[in-house]
């Protein structure tokens, strides 16, 4: 029997990239949509004109009839193309910060409650339950009433209603992970509780977290859209997809495009995040990572 000697095969950069893509099979359509969202959000002011200008002479132009307004204009003659593109920016500016803050609060609460247990767990989880118990739209309305409409108000409202979902989920995961032998062993070896939470519990719940994020992004976009739709989110006239759906609602039979296009975009982005999250969960699991 010959001795087995594995020479590491040197790959060129191009080959390595191709191998990575072949091994991991990233979700191309979802990634393209997310990339376009990011690109449009960052460079909206270079791509299209002002989304706020009313042009009463060019009101309610149907889509695909005028080269200057490909996606038509709304009842005040605002260019739909510009508004749709600027809508990406409001998604980035509201969704991203609210998800990040909700995630940080929720994860911290969940880790602490799950690891400490006892009265800490009881107190934190009763607060979480209370938060989950209220209808999120109602809470958001209350908060916006106090803080005021606009970006800050919406971000605070969305954060206040979503952190509890992260906390609940993470606590449940932590409760099962903390009983496993490696956490006990780390405790025996004198590793401090903070380090146990950070090194042993966090990495084991991060998969769940990633999937949660991708699902929550969709929900947050919908919540923002609902708030704007109800007139307590972004100020009326702002280029947010939710507001646009709301504005178009009254003329749905005549100027249907005002609601339809932002609606389609919300659906696409939410789905893209879900597919991306699904893929990310598999990619982040080391057991699946090298096995393929």
């Amino acid at each position: 029997m010959t001795s087995m000697n594995f020479e590491p095969i040197q790959l060129t950069r191009g080959q390595a990239v191709r191998k990575w893509i072949k091994d991991h099979n990233p979700p191309w359509i979802a990634l393209t949509i997310l990339f376009l969202l990011l690109f449009c959000g960052l460079f909206a002011n270079f791509i299209v004109g002002d989304p706020m200008t009313n042009d009463l002479k060019a009101r309610q132009i149907p889509p695909f009839t005028d080269i200057k307004h490909i996606f038509g204009t709304d009842i005040l003659g605002k260019d739909m193309t510009a508004r749709l593109v600027f809508g990406c920016r409001s998604v980035l500016m509201v969704t991203a910060p609210s998800i990040i803050v909700a995630l940080l609060i929720g994860t911290a609460v969940g880790l602490l409650a799950g690891y400490a247990r006892g009265w800490v767990d009881s107190v934190l989880m009763r607060i979480t339950d209370a938060t989950l118990g209220f209808p999120s739209i109602l809470v958001a309305m209350l908060i916006v009433t106090f803080v005021g409409t606009g970006y800050t108000g919406v971000i605070i409202a969305v954060t206040a209603t979503t952190w509890a979902r992260f906390a609940r989920m993470i606590r449940g995961e932590v409760l099962s992970v903390r009983e496993r032998d490696f956490v006990v062993l780390a405790g025996i070896l004198g590793v401090s509780p903070v380090m146990i939470m950070w090194r042993h519990l966090m990495p084991n719940v991060i998969n769940t977290l990633m999937v949660m994020i991708s699902l929550m992004i969709g929900q947050v976009i919908l919540l923002e859209a609902s708030l704007s739709f109800l007139g307590i989110g972004m100020s009326p006239g702002e280029p947010a997809w939710g507001i646009m759906v709301a504005e178009g609602r009254q003329q749905l039979l005549t100027t249907w495009w005002v609601s339809l296009f932002p609606g389609i975009l919300i659906t696409l982005v939410v789905m893209a995040f879900n597919f991306f999250g699904d893929w990310l969960r598999d990619y982040l699991d080391p057991r699946l990572r090298r096995a393929r």
């Binding site: 006892g118 496993r180 032998d181 490696f182 006990v184 062993l185 780390a186 405790g187 025996i188 070896l189 004198g190 590793v191 401090s192 380090m195 090194r199 042993h200 990495p203 084991n204 991060i206 699991d285 080391p286 057991r287 090298r290």
Partner: protein
């Protein structure tokens, strides 16, 4: 064998306060562990072996579990009186534990290097590269081939025996002087078992670590241990040097346990068993805990409370078997 006393457990009682009553998991045990010595604790499931270990480590599940009385003297200091923070310092540096299952004792999502350096950095105030060097050194000391390559592996990329070695390496990473091994070989196949036991012996010879070996396998006891304590229903009912215990068991329970070990030379259809069930630990009989199952109960004095008496130098048996 060196004479330095590492651990002295005196009249340790660990009870659980549950809705159905007080469960006396450990009910008044005494033993000693010296440097370089291996003490085997044998007994059936639920006899209090593991709870003895958790009591020594100060990790009795709270709030139900509580050490009711007794002292655990470690280098002359009573561990029962220590706070959680003080115990955290003592665990790892002084007393460590190897658990049953190598598959779950390692964190599946971080690599071996991180898991080893995590404890090494508590022990040594050094920069990352030298900690990694120490980690590689530890892996080679537990006979892991190609440790430089293995150190970046994830647990799932290793075999069961290799994982158990890595767990061993982690356990000795802070060079403890007491190692508690709680059935560390139950989930390994027999050849790997043998290798692992040899490894533990080698570590002991090199470092002089005192090992408390919890098992129910008398084969392993014979191979590994210097002294043996037999536990039954939260009590130590017999304690002796390993040769003495195998040759001259005094307590009927120990005798029955030894008889139930299968022997290749004898052709038997049925192994002997002990009549009855171990007592409910929330409701143990008064006097001798073994009285309901004891074949010689008529000759004994089962109303005598539990307590060891020395029948020969170094050989202790529960008093009800001896005092008539």
């Amino acid at each position: 064998m060196s004479e330095e006393l590492l651990l002295k457990v005196e009249n340790l009682r660990t009870h659980f306060h549950t809705k159905t009553g007080i469960v006396k998991a450990v009910d008044g045990i005494d033993f000693e562990l010296r440097k370089g010595e291996t003490l085997g604790i044998v007994g059936e499931s639920g006899s209090g072996k593991s709870m003895t270990a958790w009591s020594i480590l100060g990790m009795v599940p709270k709030p139900a579990g509580r050490i009711e009385s007794g002292r655990i003297l470690y280098h002359g200091e009573d561990l029962v009186q220590k706070s959680d923070d003080e115990m955290r310092e003592i665990r790892g540096t002084g007393i460590c534990m190897v658990m049953q299952d190598p598959l779950t004792s390692l964190n599946p999502v971080i690599n071996i290097k991180k898991q080893l350096t995590e404890t090494l950095e508590l022990e040594y105030d050094e920069d990352k590269p030298s900690l990694v060097q120490r980690a590689i050194g530890l892996l080679s000391s537990v006979n892991i081939p190609a440790p430089e390559m293995r150190v970046t592996s994830f647990p799932h990329e290793m075999s069961g025996g290799m994982r158990q070695r890595v767990v061993g390496a982690i356990s000795i990473s802070r060079s403890p002087d007491i190692l508690i091994a709680d059935e560390p070989t139950t989930s390994l196949d027999v050849t790997i078992q043998l290798q692992y036991l040899k490894l533990l012996k080698d570590i002991q010879e090199e470092t002089g670590v005192g090992i408390i070996f919890i098992t129910h396998d008398f084969g392993i006891v014979a191979k590994m241990c210097d002294r043996v304590a037999v536990m039954y229903a939260g009590n130590i009912i017999e304690q002796a040097d390993v040769v003495e215990l195998f040759d001259n068991p005094q307590h009927p329970y120990t005798q029955a346990l030894l008889k139930s070990v299968p022997d290749l030379d004898d052709d038997v259809d049925m192994l002997p068993t002990i009549e009855g069930q171990p007592p409910d630990l929330a409701n143990t009989p008064s006097g001798c805990v073994f009285r309901d199952r004891c074949p010689n109960v008529a000759d004994h004095n089962p109303d005598l409370g539990m307590g060891l008496v020395e029948v020969k130098p170094g050989h202790f048996v529960d008093q009800c078997c001896v005092m008539r």
